[in-house]
Structure formats: C-alpha cells, structure tokens
Amino acid sequence: MGLISSTHSISRYYVDGNFFDGAAEGIRQGLIENAIPEIENEYDEISAGWTPLETPYNPDFESASFIFGTYFAFSLRIDKKSIPAKLVQKHMAIETEKKKKESGRPFISKNEKAEIKEMVIDILMHKTPFIPNIYDVLWDYDNRNLILFSTQNAANELFETLFFKSFDHKPIRIFPYTLIEKSGNFASDKKDRVTALAPLNMKGVQ
C-alpha cells in the first residue's frame, strides 16, 4: 500500500519549520541517525527506523537517494515480533508442570507463575523472527505537506514520535479542524466563526 502500489491508504500531515543547514542536509542527517538498525537485537519486541524507499531492507542512506524531484521520499520500517497468546499458554502449561514436579508440590505460587511467564515470553521472543512492515513517507517540504502511507494508529503514532526525534519538526495531523487552521484560506475572524460552530440538525425538526 505504498507510494508505488496500485492502491494507497494515506494520512496527511502539516510540517512547519526550517533546517539550519538546508532541508536536504537536515533530512539526510535525520535519516542516517535514525535509520533502522541493521543488526537486530533478538530480545527486542519492536525495532523501528527509516529506510530508503527503494531498498527497505538495506537502510543505507549514504548510497540510496531520498530526493525525488522536489519531494523527499523514504520509508518507515517497523519490525515487530508477535507471539501468539496460545503459544504462550502452551509453554506456560509445560513449564508449570515441570515446576510442580521439581518442587513436589501440587501447586505453584503466584510469584512462581509470574516468573515462568516472564521466562516463557523471553525464550519465545528470542526464537520469534521480526515481521517487517513498511510505510512510505512522502514529504513535500516546499508546501509543508507530508503523506504517510498508513492509516494504522500504531504506525502513525510511531511515525510522529520518530519524525520529531529525527528532524525536530512536529508533524501535525491533517483532519477537518487542522485543514481549516493551516489552509491560509481563512482570516482569524472566520476561524473564530468555525470554532463557534456546533453540529447541525440536518433533518430540520427537533
């Protein structure tokens, strides 16, 4: 569902601010410093960072381009491990039985249960591979607009956090209110009229 797909899911942002050393250099630095780590930490549950649009599995911004015409385009890659609850349940049952046998007791304490659960999740997390998800980002810097090719809340939230960390620019989601605020079409008196609006009663009868 990315930029070159046949269908797209998009959410939009307004990005204000300038880079001290020029946009291309500022963005390049932000991308390099916050690229997704090439070496995975096998105990992490999630790993996220920028990758080039054309080579999402080779996060090397020294060789890959992120400037396309007047746009900046790159991708957000989120690698995540997901352990099925039923798998945790299965291993919990196995380990609980082992513990009971070892202790000679017919039950285990609440603390022991919590310890087993932590151990099981640790082991499974270590064994489970990361599943990558890639969301393209298109930044029309000159017009202060940005498109994120995702409408998933978790991805959008991660994007907003990483974007601010990388570029020191706060992306503002475009939705009805912010579109009015940022469009430049309305003077402050008109904006005041908008903020005074209440939902309509379209049917015309109470």
Partner: protein, 176 residues
Amino acid sequence: MLDIATAYNKYGFLGNEFLTWIWYLVETDQDITALSGSENPVTLEIGNSISLENNLGDKSKEKISIKGDQAGLEEGTTALKKGAWVTDMNLICRIGEEEYKFSIKGESFNITGLKTPTIDTSSSEDEIEGLIIEKTFLIMKVIKVIDTLFLKFIEKRISDDWNTSDLKDIRAWIQS
C-alpha cells in the same frame, strides 16, 4: 490553535457534515467543477460503500453501513431523515479523463483504498524518480479537489445565509 486531540474530537463533526454535503451535491447534480475550482471537469459519484451514524441522545449510536457495487442507498436516505450523518464513504472522482476511487473518513480525512489512474510501474530503476513524481502528482491532484471542496463547504457553513440557502436546500433534499 486548539490542542490537537481536543480539536480532533470537538470538530470531527465538520468532516461528517462535509461528506453528507458531498452526497447532497452528487444527488442533486450540483456543479462540482465550479465548486472545486478545477480547470478540468470534475465529477463525483458515490462508490460501493457508505456509512452513517446517528447519535440517539443517550450516548448510544445507531450505525448504518451499506456496501456492495449494486447496493441501493435507500436505507442511507432513511437514516438521514432520522438525523444521521455520513461518517465515511467510497467515492469515484473523475478529473478530466482521469478516474480516482477511494474511501474517505469524515472525522480524520484518512483515505483508504485510493486507486489513481494507472501508471506504468514496469520501468527500470533509473526511471523510479519519474514514477514517484507521476504518482505523487496524481495523489496530490485528488487531494486538492477534496481540500478545495471541504474549504468551500466551510466557507458556506460559516456564511450568514447558510441557514436560509444551503441548509434549507439540503434539508429539502433529505426530506424529499
């Protein structure tokens, strides 16, 4: 400017009203080209889904979803008569010879399932820049139509004669 989360929750209704207005424009054959300020002819058509929501006053909501290529919209118009709003809809937008299909959500303006006119994606890597620019151009084009129509709706919505002209006409359409 208001806090973003507050603004999102408080003014989400403007997006739903906008989509309801779009439905009214489509059903009453309004001049969408003029409203969108486009140089090329612009038409809109309701696509294969529409969802409506009605606040029942006791914090409960009634939700109506209509899906399917040949689905009739009668239940939707009945819901409008009961005071419901369009919360998301699938639209077919034609700009000149180009056709765009997408679903748009009123409160967030998130766009899903956007299909732009086809471009040749079999090009070599050297031509990737051209592809990205072309695709971006198409996406921006349809976004511009949506934004312009929304801002036009807001202009009307805050105008002094909203109650006596546009709202009156929309109510007449709903009750027709």
